[in-house]
Each structure stands twice: as structure tokens, then as C-alpha cells.
């Protein structure tokens, strides 16, 4: 059962799957791309986000703003999930 995305859960997912080096030093405000999140790590991240939260980023939503930090990513996914639930009602 997917859970709702939060910045903290996104960070936990990045740490658990070792998508970045030195996971212990990461915070929700660490700039992910500068910290070494390359396109292959991004692919792993998208799969894990989908599995965990039931929501992921579509190609047009893939940009440096949404992927800036675990916070921007978590907030974006939570909002998107909210829009999707709204649309289903």
C-alpha cells in the first residue's frame, strides 16, 4: 500500500537505496544533483518513488526545480498525489 510522500520519506528512500554517497550526511535540503545524483541514479529513484508512493514524475515534470532537494521532490509528489486523488473524486 503506497504511503504519502514527504520530504523525510524521500530522503529515507534515497538513503536506503544508497542512491548517493555518504548517505548519513544528507539532509532534506541537500542539493541532490550537485551531490552526485546522476541520470542513472535518477532512474533508480523514479522506480523507487513509484513503488513506495504510487506516484512518480512524468517526463515534462523532470526538471532541476522539482529534483532540487528531497524537500522539493517530496512536496511536489505530495501535491501531485493530492491532485490525482482530487481528480478521481
Amino acid at each position: 500500500m503506497p504511503v504519502s510522500a514527504t520530504p523525510e520519506l524521500v530522503l529515507e528512500l534515497i538513503r536506503d537505496h544508497q542512491l548517493l554517497e555518504a548517505p548519513e550526511s544528507l539532509t532534506v535540503d541537500t542539493p541532490l544533483l550537485a551531490a552526485g545524483l546522476d541520470s542513472m541514479a535518477v532512474m533508480q529513484l523514479l522506480l523507487h518513488l513509484d513503488d513506495r508512493f504510487g506516484v512518480t514524475l512524468d517526463p515534462p515534470e523532470m526538471n532541476r526545480e522539482n529534483l532540487a532537494t528531497a524537500r522539493t521532490l517530496g512536496d511536489f509528489l505530495a501535491q501531485k498525489a493530492g491532485r490525482m486523488r482530487h481528480a478521481e473524486l
Binding site: 554517497e21 546522476d38 512518480t56 523532470m62
Partner: protein
Amino acid sequence: MQSFDVMVAGGGSAGIAAALAASRAGARTLLVERSEQLGGMGANALVHTFCGLFHPDVSKGPQWLNPGIPTEIGQRLLEASGRNKPDLMGRVYVLRHEPAEFARLATSLCAKEPALTVRTGTALVSLERNAEEWRFITNVAGQMTEATARRVVDTTGAAALAALCSPASRVVAEGDKLYRPALVCRITGMAGPLDENAPLQLAAILVRAVRTEDLPATAMGAGFRQSPMRDDEVFMTLDLEGGGEAWNPLDSAAIETVKQDAHKLAQSIWRHLAANHPLFATSDQIIMPDQLGIRESARWKGDYVLTAQDLRESRRFDDEVALAGWPLEFRETARGPKFVYFDKPEPAGIPARSLRTHEVPGMFFAGKCLSCDHEALASVRVMGTCLATGQAAGRLAADA
């Protein structure tokens, strides 16, 4: 019968630097390359980034790490691409280059050395040491030619000369541990250069295609980089599992299977992107490389085995002949690199003892087959460092 002071086997980054260094030191030098074009991985496998050329402390801007041929070739490639500095990628500087330009540069630099003879399209079939000299046979279209050299340099990337003359000195890594190979191809006719979000969008398109089973999961080994010289060309690097434990870069059948599968996968990824991303919509061609990108196969066991710990601690040696500055870039899976940086942003030394063994006098080795452990190879295998160790081996061979 022709006789040389130095014979260099393998015309990739390390071999080009070794041959230039030896011939510039006055040694009558022969460079033997089995393919038709010099440049090795950086030309024939379409590898388009030189790593390891710069000091690991990026806070002071890009500083060339190894003087001599590595700096000379790096500067020339930078000039050819019309840029004045390399790219800062995370915590390292990388020089993007055009593979064809590297091949041209290597050929023209070698042609300028009167003491240097280059033989491409030439296979080395035997090598043995007689008294004070090496005797070897080359093969061009069935035509065997015998020649001699006083010293030889192994820059084959696979310690091929150890296989010919001293198998006990050859270290062959196990299949499941070997760094994974890659297929790099060139896509032409792009609608424009990749913008900063394009690699992220491409990643999402591939993930979606894997989820919908339009592409196999192995498509997630793909990464994209803009050509340094042309706005309408990109390179696609496809990291390959290579069959897991079955991967054997010394077995031509295994290489052929992996290569054919990778070609098919690259074609289907390209077609999918052409249908799904506006920049790829106009692309007209995908060009395959002549060779797979092989990151690790076999190497020499020398008088010193350079370790990952030496590199991480930026250890220096009294007999050092080159500097390593690239982080340990582990490639044990096809899911992207894992970087381990040196503890301090300082280079580590590479000792002369890692480029020779007392077991085989008159033999030197450099590039991917220098004497190091599997983990250290994750750093020293990169082409900028290969230029540096190649230069060092060439000088040692000329002086010996």
C-alpha cells in the same frame, strides 16, 4: 630484420603517450596497434571524456595534474573543442572530447616524431626474450614479420604481453567482480543540444518505457552526453551487465554476444526516444563504435601493487613517476558509478615499481594493465591517468 630500442604494444591513451615519450627521449620506437586507428577506448570505443587530467582540488579551478604529454594532449583537445576550460561535474573536472579528434591528434603527434614507427592494423602474435633483447612477430593479413626490441611496453589494456611471455605475472579478475563494460554510440541529426533538464527527462522516458515493457530493464543503463563539438550530436553510453558472472572480456565469443545484444538494445532505445522526445525526433542515425568499452580485464603483477588505500590516503612514493587524481569510480553494476573520493583533495603517487617487475627484465606496463589491486583500478584506469602512466613507462623504457 628490423630492430628497435622500444616496442610499445597497444595504441590507446597509454600506448600513444608511451610511444611519444620513448621516441622523444631518442629511442627508436615501434608502436603496434591491432585496430586500424590509434586512440583505443578514447577513439574506437567512442569514450568521449578524459578523466584524471586535473588536480583533485577543484577549489582552485582546473589545474593540469601531470606535466608533459597528458597536459599537451589535454590542451590540444580542449582547443579543438573551442572551449577554454573543462566541465566541472560534481567534485571533479572532466574534459569532453571528440573521439575522431583524439584519433587525428594521436596520429599527427606520432607522425611528427622521426624516431617513431607506427603500425596500425597489426597484431602481435609472439614475443620472447632472447639474451638481451626481445624477439617478436607481427601479423598483417597473414604476412608474418619478425623484429627485435631491447625493451617492450605493454599498453594493451589486458596484459596481453604477460599472456605471451610470462603468464604467471598476469592477474585476471573474476567475472562477477570485473567492472562492467559499456557500449558508447553516437546519435546524429538531433534537433538541438541537450539542455540541462533533458538528461532528467530522458531518464523518466526510459523508466516509463521499462514499466510499460516497451523496453527491457537493461535500457536503464543508458546515459546521454552532448558532443563537445557539434550541437546536433549526442553520445549515448549504455552500461552493460555483460551477462553477470559470465562476463569474460578475454573471450571473443562472450564479447561478441554482449556486443550484438548491446547493439540491438541501443537501436531500440534510439527508436523509442525518437518517438518520444522532441530533441531526438529529427535524429537520423545511430553510429555504433568499433569496440566495446572495456573497463577491466587482466593486468600485470609488478614489484609493487598499488592499492586503493594508497590512493585514498594520497600516498606519495620516492620512486613515483605519475600522479593519480581521479576518485575510485566503481562500476561493478550497470546501474551507474559509485564514487569514493580520496580522503583529502590531494593527488597520490604511482611508483615506478608498479610499472615493472624484476621477474621480466626489459618489460614495462602502463594504463589499465599496470600493477594495482581491483579497487585501485577504479581510479587509475581512466584515460587521463593512462596518458600519465604511459608517458612514465615510455620514459623508463627509453632510459633503461
